[in-house]
Amino acid sequence: MARLDELCKLPGHQGIVWNVGWNQEGNILVSCGEDKTIRLWGRNVNSNDWVCRSILSDGHQRTIRSVSFSPCNKLISSASFDGTCCIWDKSTSTEGNQYECTATLEGHENEVKCVAWSASGSFLATCSRDKSVWIWEVGEDGEFECAAVLSAHTQDVKKVVWHPHQDIVASASYDNTVKMFCEEDDDWICFATLKSHESTVWSLAFDSTGKLLATCSDDRTIKIWKEYLPGNEFGVATSDNMPTWKCVCTLSGVHPRAIYDISWCHQTGLLATASGDDAIRIFRIDPESDPNAPFLEQLITVPRAHEQDVNSVVWNPCIPGLLASCSDDMHVKLWQFKG
């Protein structure tokens, strides 16, 4: 019988914890929240317990909504309701785990909701309540230049994620859609709009191949979308020589409240959701099911995973089954899946 064991509960944040993320080696966890701080968590060398290794503050004036490590592990980016993104650099600092804010990306009109690095490390994407998605190009000199301002969404954009292998960014919005963008000539274009959710799309995650996308919504469903390339053997129509992303699975009736986050483990293929009913749930695609109509199998529900809304879940990139979560209850938690 599959289990999700709570490994530890990490107190420290003085308010809602909004987002958690791992570094590429999977040995540092980063969290951020309402208290305008970023906390780095790692294992204590002697006891092996997870402890807070450092606190980054003085970068933002308001709530920090999102935080992530760069693919090179040297930089951390953070997005805040103060309308800016900060880039924190380790290399210029003397102490082991101390980071310094070396760049501030300004431009959004108001609250920045998410920031994400492309797999190649050459781009950063941000999104905001101002309805836009921005692509930033990382220059050799460490300068960040705006490469595109994409106004495809008609409402608040909640989340941006990059494709695991290509320079493609997907965004989720209050306008109930997901949009995908790629570079064409010297500009970025929206090449796909994924419509099916009936309310805000809160989050999204690619699988390890980048051919499947999972989305979660305020409409209390999870959807799986599959990429169909031009000329595919299944007769799915495409246009402009661009792939079509088609909804191939909708899971409803499982989450009684909004689903705020979804994470797709690139090692185990497991999916985890964070929900407004304080629960964490684990799913997987039934390997026996038709790839064009996959079946999502629910493995585990941890009913009171946190005392309040679970805001974010993220699988560790190196240790199979290690999951981090954070909540309105001011805590970060670590979990181990056992299958």
Binding site: E106, E109, D130, S132, C146, V149, S151, D156, Y174
Partner: protein
């Protein structure tokens, strides 16, 4: 097509929220002419009638009808809130239906009419847009548009480009003066062009006081042309400036925002220099309402400002947005270094919408100018300036990618291939006869207009001001 898309994307981007209803969103207080002091709580009651009117019950128990708050477009511009709520107001004031109503009133000499005469200014980008869509030469498109407006009752039809030389000459002088002050005044360069109202709107609302000193104070050709027309034409047309409707044909809705600025009110503080801005998409609607095909329109001449004017149509050399950067570089090279530049090539930097050109002397860059189109490039320019990094001496800033040829209200083709459409427009633009700015001619025109004026008067005619807009933070409009 949604109305909002006819604005430049930069103006759409400053649209904070169209989710909250206007009564919550708009923070503009209603003006009350007769303020009654309400001293005790509960002494005033407001009732909403079945017809939606608001009635106040005064202390004596008598109902008083309350005035509806009148919100003008300019109030909306002064607000840091949304452009969306401004749109409906704007459409009401400057749309093609109102314009057609005016034409009819003038044709019928209706007594209730607000204007006696109409003067039209045609800018080059809409002409090219019609030429491209209907596969006629730009000269023909211009003649047909002129015929259309004469048919609608225009007393005169001018090219806005006839006035553009005055604008460019003024831009050149303004730049040279500011370049000379470079060592003593930190905000003298870079000088940023002021012709694009979308960019001005963004600079005023988002960046405010630190950036405004960098923006050239020279009015746009639209506003210079209109001031000129309202100063000089009423005499000839035997009317008053306030009863002369100046109608500008422009490539985007942002120009309507510009025309509505209170900075462009005449001395009586009521008469606007530009009364209507009509765009290509609206001209198509006018044609539809008149049930006339564009290609079936007659041809008509375009009026000349002076006898000295060359009877052919030509436009300033340089970009499709008006050639600001090219003229400034050419003029400053001559004025500051006595170098005559023949052909100037702008080299793309990161993308085709950021292009630069330099004057080099003995291997040293002595002058640098750039054309910066579209929001992403404006962002990078502004952020570099903010971080006090070196940029350029002069930048022609336009909010739309590809500049004014790609204005938000230019005609779109059914195939919706924006890139092909744009390259066709650019080819058409390169084919029109160009001229280097003839300063003597512009000066003559300027002299005929402002010859006896004081320097202050001259500046008032040719220059304008910008104002930082305070951001309002209204908790009600915050959405997570």
């Amino acid at each position: 097509m949604a109305t909002s898309s006819r604005f430049s994307s930069i103006v759409q981007l400053t649209d904070l929220d169209d989710f909250i209803n206007p009564s919550q969103e708009c923070i503009k207080p209603a003006k009350t002419a007769n303020v009654k002091q309400v001293t005790s709580a509960g002494s005033a009651k407001i009732q909403i009638g079945d017809d939606g009117t608001y009635t106040q019950i005064n202390k004596e128990g008598q109902p008083e009808k309350l005035e509806k708050a009148q919100i003008t477009l300019n109030d909306c511009l002064a607000c840091s809130g949304c452009i969306t709520s401004a749109e409906s107001v704007l459409i009401g004031q400057q749309n093609h239906t109102e314009f057609l109503k005016l034409c009819k009133e003038i044709q019928l000499s209706s007594e209730s009419r607000m204007y006696d005469k109409i003067v039209v200014g045609l800018s080059s980008q809409p002409i090219l847009s019609f030429a491209n869509k209907f596969q006629v030469s730009p000269i023909e498109a211009r003649a047909k548009l002129s015929a259309l407006f004469r048919q609608l009752g225009a007393a005169k039809v001018f090219d806005v480009e006839s006035f553009a030389d005055m604008c460019l000459v003024e831009c050149g002088h303004d730049f040279v003066q500011r370049f000379r002050e470079k060592s003593t005044n930190a905000t003298s360069v870079p000088v940023l062009a002021s012709a694009c109202p979308g960019w001005i709107c963004y600079a005023e609302k988002t960046h405010g006081s630190w950036i405004l000193p960098h923006i050239s104070e020279v009015k746009s050709p639209q506003q210079i042309a209109a001031t000129f027309i309202k100063d000089l034409l009423p005499n000839e047309l035997q009317t008053d400036a306030s009863r002369l409707a100046v109608v500008m044909i422009m490539p985007c809705f942002d120009k309507k925002l510009e025309a509505s600025r209170s900075d462009f009110l005449r001395e009586d503080q009521q008469t606007k220099d530009v009364d209507f801005v009509i765009t290509p998409v609206e001209i198509e609607q006018i044609l539809e309402e008149l049930d006339v095909e564009f290609t079936d329109l007659d041809s008509s001449h375009v009026d000349h400002l002076s006898k000295a004017e060359i009877p052919t149509w030509n436009i300033p050399s340089g970009s499709g947005s008006g050639g600001y950067a090219e003229h400034v570089l050419r003029f400053a090279a001559k004025e500051l270094y006595d170098v005559t530049l023949e052909h100037i090539t702008f080299q793309p930097v990161k993308n085709s919408d950021i292009r630069e050109a330099f004057l080099e002397m003995d291997g040293q860059q002595v002058l640098s100018v750039a054309i910066c189109n579209g929001f992403r490039n404006i962002q990078n320019l502004v952020q570099k300036m903010k971080r006090k990094k070196r940029t350029y001496d002069y930048v022609e800033v336009m909010a739309c990618p590809s500049g004014c040829l790609n204005g938000g209200a230019q005609l779109r083709l059914e195939s919706n291939e924006t890139k092909i459409l744009l390259s066709n427009l650019e080819i058409l633009h390169t084919k029109i006869e160009k001229h280097d700015i003839d300063e003597t001619k512009a000066d003559d025109l300027c002299h005929a207009w402002l010859g006896k004026s004081s320097i202050e008067e001259r500046l008032k005619r040719l220059r304008t001001n910008y104002h930082a807009v305070q951001k309002s933070t209204n908790a009600l409009t915050v959405k997570w």
